[in-house]
Symmetry: C2
Subunit: 354 residues, 2 copies
């Protein structure tokens, strides 16, 4: 049987859960490689993927006999079929963080399940620890992102708009092996850089600008995420101070990232250092990266867990002065047993375009 499904099944068994309904398409893609609309049922006897006629052909092309997944169409199922799937299961799991309240009620009604139980991110937690294949895809996505940044340093000229630069990022990714961006790129110049989640505008790049570029691409389904803050023509001394503070903290965190590191503490370090200089850490310090550009674990003071080897996370402190400017520096980082590896390798020295 498909290894990832086997792992989930063992995990469920240890919690006295005999079956599971998996609806989140990203979780289904992770477990089966299927990229369609449908649901995956892990029943006592079988793994079943149910989809509609539009996808049957496509899904059959993706699966191999080793997956041990039966494919069927919604159209071919009777009320009785649904009721029989989990007939002898005491507990059946569902994705309480993905399934809507309406779907929940529908599932209860349709499958006649005795006990529909929450699985607390069971698949998402498994997804947090990347295997060698997944790491190689993320590594490649980061490499393409670095190449894009090098390209941008030559490409960006005064008078260009933020939108133009953002379009160039997308174009570069597509022409260099990525399937596209992992999220809409942020190119925020001048006072726009003070908006952490800015949308590219028609503002033109000009002398003295700070430019925050936050971008990532998707390679073979896996994401990268990197931010660099660069300058045009010159850097004001007061900006240097903010830049240095952000960079210093970003590097401290990276040096502390390894198996066992307390996530809350990592966030507290930055928060404390920022506070001492009268700045706030206004967003989470980072997040997991994988099939989704934002996935678990969240790197913030709210997370009481520790890092584990094989996690891939971002480290992205930022300081924002509304109406003036902002600085954010972000890398995608692979957690190891004794240290961490920065997968996005673009320089973080002052970068001054002219």
């Amino acid at each position: 049987m498909n290894e990832r499904i086997r792992w989930i099944r063992n995990n469920l068994k240890s919690q006295n859960i005999q079956g599971m309904i998996i609806s989140n398409p990203t979780n289904i893609k992770y477990l089966t490689n299927i990229d369609a609309e449908g649901i995956l049922l892990l029943t006592l006897r079988e793994n079943i993927y149910i989809t509609d006629e539009r996808y049957i052909e496509k899904v059959k092309k993706i699966l191999t006999i080793d997956d041990e997944i039966i494919v069927t169409s919604f159209r071919d199922l009777s009320y009785e079929d649904y009721e029989n799937y989990f007939l002898f299961c005491e507990n059946v799991g569902f994705e309480e963080n993905y399934v809507t309240y309406s779907n929940y009620k529908e599932i209860m009604h349709k499958y006649k399940i005795n006990n529909l139980v929450e699985t607390e991110w069971i698949v998402e937690k498994q997804r947090q620890i990347k295997d060698q294949d997944e790491i190689s895809y993320i590594r490649k996505a980061c490499e393409i992102t670095d190449n894009c940044f090098s390209h941008l340093l030559k490409y960006i000229k005064k008078g260009m708009t933020e939108k133009q630069i953002s379009d160039e990022i997308e174009k570069f990714f597509k022409e260099n092996g990525a399937s596209g961006v992992s999220f809409p790129s942020i190119v925020a110049s001048g006072e726009n850089s003070a908006i952490p989640h800015a949308t590219p505008t028609d503002r033109k790049i000009q002398s003295g600008d700070v430019i925050t570029i936050d971008m990532g691409c998707v390679y073979n389904g896996y994401c990268s995420d990197m931010t660099r803050t660069i300058f045009v023509d010159f850097v004001q001394e007061y900006m240097k101070k903010v830049y240095d503070l952000v960079l210093k903290n970003q590097m401290i965190v990276t040096s502390e990232m390894r198996e066992g590191a307390n996530i809350k503490t990592l966030s507290k370090i930055v928060e404390g250092n920022f506070k001492m200089n009268d700045y706030d850490l206004v967003h989470a310090l980072g997040h997991g990266v994988g099939l989704e550009v934002h996935e678990g674990p969240i790197i913030s003071e709210k997370n009481e867990k520790t890092l584990k080897a094989g996690m891939v996370v971002t480290n992205e402190p930022g300081i924002y002065l509304p109406g003036e400017y902002g600085v954010r520096i972000e890398d995608t980082i692979l957690i190891g047993e004794n240290d961490s590896e920065v997968l996005t390798k673009s320089s973080k020295n002052y970068c001054i375009l002219s």
Copy 2:
């Protein structure tokens, strides 16, 4: 007050619902024009948008005094604030089709609401009827899509891959006023055209191919959606028969689309005509188009409702012969009181590239 929020408030009042928690970002965008991460609360006294620090700046730029929406940060709220929001409300509505089971439990816990009631797509139903501004944006998105199709007829050459064509579509949209594609374009050639939801591959266009192109763009937040099936060098007679059957049914449906038309009947007409020729209608006949490329109403035999003036929907019958080829023809259509207007105007005559 913002007109759309006033409409929702009146609708809620008529159902004896005194407040509502709106979490779906598309619904929030529709009601407020805010494009961020947060929630909108309609309480007895106020409209409140709660977001995090990252978005405060951006949101304040979007709202005007006429919106009558208070903006606040999650960080500034106490447990008591949440409990006070709906203190004197008998019933508070939520989006049961958007809110996850986990969120539902969290809402119950956090706001201490007496009676959290389902609102049955209240905002989505309002969104189905487009106003003049919305129609003008969709019209423009359709016009750009038509222009893209004209461009493709000159651009596509034998030896090009499906992916190349799909990239060209995206490039064209961006260079011609759209903010991007409304969904990943489908360019399915030869036997791939038998897969209704095909993903573009490296397959090269060759003589005798059928090519299904399903694409749409986003203009000012609003979507278009169009499919054309074209031929390379020649059309086999047996393909013509299938093409004619699909086209005839597509045109019959369009001619029947108007205020009051029974949606189920529209679908049944096509299903019946296909069956008589030994084909199945394997997917829904269409769907609403607006801020989302797939929104209500679904045009299928499962929908017992009627069409209403101001709805914008697709009409997209298709026939698929697994392993061989497929034909789908789709327009985006504006429903009027006495007839309908086809907004995507590209020709549906046999189109044979050479």
